[in-house]
């Protein structure tokens, strides 16, 4: 182990957790973030209250940002990214776009995901009808405090449909994964909509409900039992308009009947695509991608955070759809892996 800092690329929940862990251990970390601020998707996209904590994203993740900013062992470079990365474990050299050269002991890639672009599913009306929106837009409506309004004319919707699995679980568009968090986020969003405008009826169209673990009772059951959100088993075929309202067409599979139901607003629960930068990251860092396009991991159990290149680790949504809490845990695991690389890092740090 060298005295070189540990390079962390991407300042979302995973990267912030890794930077904090490295800094707190007494080692130096350099955090490189391509956006103009830290925080990752929850901050950059303005999410509202998070699951499962019900804390506002700006408070919860904002707190993580402050903690890292105040850590003297962490140096942050914003608005830039890594352009070249060469060398061996213990002695890597990274050059940033702005010309900065960093000597690094190891690197942790916490570059996260890219939101699915709903334009790729034109049959569901996004981009055609203003009242078809994404879950990110609804997050922003809630966090802005303006409430749920139809973008077309600002009215409070009588009826909202949330379509699950938009951009996930769909071979037609080459996405054979479940984005893991959108069921729970949608159930939570439905409850928030019902709370903000109790007259609005919310329907969730699903194929399966994947509110795994303890999220089942707190989000799925509660949304149904307390907020009276309705769940309809149908994958929607198309969203059109009759000129006044949106019309959602599909098959109600439980009663085996076609449905064409009027709605005021349709929400796409969009999935977590691999980061659009992954091909570039793969080339620059010499790490492999898995068959879905996320950063590949060397092993499932033995070395949790390792990529296919020794000395380069990954954590969070960079390696597949993840929740925030799992991204944080993985960020810490990656920090530990980097600190103990070669087996004596922790000993050295204690000296």
């Amino acid at each position: 182990m060298s005295d070189n800092p540990i390079l962390i690329v991407g300042g979302g929940p995973a990267g912030l957790a890794a930077a904090h862990a490295v800094g707190a251990s007494g080692r130096k970390a350099v955090l490189v973030e391509k956006a103009d601020r830290l925080g990752g998707a929850p901050i950059l996209s303005g999410y509202a209250k998070l699951v499962p904590s019900h804390e506002w994203a700006k408070d919860a993740i904002g707190g993580m940002v402050t903690r890292v900013q105040q850590n003297a062992n962490v140096t942050t470079h914003l608005n830039t990214s890594v352009q070249t990365f060469t060398g061996e474990p213990g002695a890597f050299t990274a050059t940033l776009k702005d010309g900065t050269v960093i000597a690094a002991d190891s690197a942790i890639l916490t570059t996260g995901f890219t939101h699915f672009d709903s334009l790729n599913k034109p049959e569901w009306g996004f981009g055609t009808y203003p009242d078809v929106v994404t879950s990110v837009q609804v997050e922003q409506m809630i966090s802005s405090g303006k409430g749920i309004r139809c973008p077309s004319d600002g009215r409070v919707p009588d009826r909202v449909a949330i379509l699950l699995c938009v951009g996930s679980r769909d071979r037609q568009i080459g996405r054979e994964w479940c984005s893991k968090i959108c069921c729970t986020v949608s159930a939570n969003m439905a409850m928030e909509i019902r709370e903000m405008s109790p007259k609005t009826n919310v329907y969730i169209y699903y194929m399966d409900i994947r509110t795994f673990g303890l999220l089942e009772g707190e989000f799925y059951w509660k949304s149904q039992e307390e907020a009276k959100v309705k769940y309809i088993k149908a994958r929607i075929a198309e969203v059109t308009s009759d000129g006044k309202r949106l019309v959602v067409k599909g098959e109600d599979t439980l009663v085996k009947r076609p449905i064409t139901i009027p709605f005021d607003m349709v929400v796409h629960a969009i999935g977590m695509d691999p980061n659009v930068d992954n091909m570039t990251l793969s080339a620059i860092f010499g790490v492999g991608l898995n068959r879905w396009g996320y950063l590949d991991k060397a092993s499932t159990y033995a070395h949790l955070a390792e990529t296919t290149r020794p000395g380069v680790y990954t954590a969070g949504a960079a390696s597949g759809p993840e929740t925030i809490d799992d991204s944080i845990a993985q960020g810490q695991a990656a920090a530990l892996a980097a600190l103990t690389r070669a087996g004596f890092g922790a000993l050295k740090a204690a000296e």
Partner: protein, 248 residues
């Protein structure tokens, strides 16, 4: 019949026209049979609320359509058309027309509560069946079911005297449901009772039947009870947007 085995085409949805030309093409007669669309074109949000306002229906919104109730159901075992899971769905989405097709079998629930113990979400399907039968009656879709008659007789007996007079309840029940009094099982029951009963008991029984004593100071309770019953009935009618008195 499990719902997926139901015929997708109902006879009443088959249409033939004696004389019809569309865009110059003659589509008259049997060879051009049309099938009317089965498409559901709207949800009726009021329906779930109405059933939930009936006693027993309060938890209907919890259902996630697992089918445990229907699988456990005593009546479903003999009549596959009896499907609580399906009806709960129709109510939740407001497919009233569809529910009404089964109006004459919903009351057949025997209140065994097997569904109640099978339901993972505590929907209380037995209560929902009762609430639905009650709703059908209030809305005038069905006549009074035998169990409603029984409830009425039972309630009347208590309101009148503060007591349950089994014989009278039974008599009134048979009369109101237009069943003959001479039920073989009843005759057998009574004759065997008469044979074994001490003479003193028989006298008492005779006395009670003729004089119908009331619970002491019953009149006050009676008024309170009647008021409560009226209040509940009015609330239920109000929940269905009905005004005025009367059960139907």
């Amino acid at each position: 019949m499990p719902i997926h085995e139901k015929s997708l085409i109902r006879p009443e949805n088959l249409v033939t026209n004696d004389n019809l030309v569309i865009d110059g093409v003659d589509v008259s007669g049997h060879w051009s049979t049309f099938i009317k669309s089965r498409t559901v074109t709207d949800y009726n949000e009021a329906m779930q609320e109405e059933i939930a306002a009936m006693p027993g229906g309060e938890n209907i919104h919890r259902c996630w359509q697992c089918g445990s109730c229907t699988n456990a159901c005593t009546v479903n075992a003999v009549n596959p058309e009896f499907n609580p899971r399906y009806w709960i769905y129709l109510i939740r989405t407001g497919m009233e027309e569809e529910l009404l097709r089964d109006k004459d079998i919903i009351w057949q629930c025997v209140s065994c509560n097997k569904c109640t113990y099978a339901c993972p979400r505590d929907v209380f399907p037995e209560g929902v069946m009762k609430a639905t039968a009650h709703w059908l009656e209030l809305k005038g879709h069905t006549g009074k079911s035998p169990s409603s008659h029984f409830d009425d007789d039972f309630t009347e007996s208590i309101i009148d005297t503060g007591m349950i007079e089994e014989a009278r309840v039974l008599l009134t029940f048979f009369k109101r449901t237009k069943q003959p009094l001479a039920q073989p099982w009843l005759i057998a029951l009574i004759t065997s009772l008469l044979k074994k009963m001490p003479v003193g008991y028989l006298f008492r029984l005779g006395f009670l039947t003729v004089f119908r004593p009331k619970v002491r100071n019953w009149s006050k309770n009676r008024v309170a009870l009647q008021e409560y019953v009226d209040e509940r009935k009015a609330a239920q009618r109000a929940a269905l947007g009905m005004t005025g008195k009367g059960d139907h």
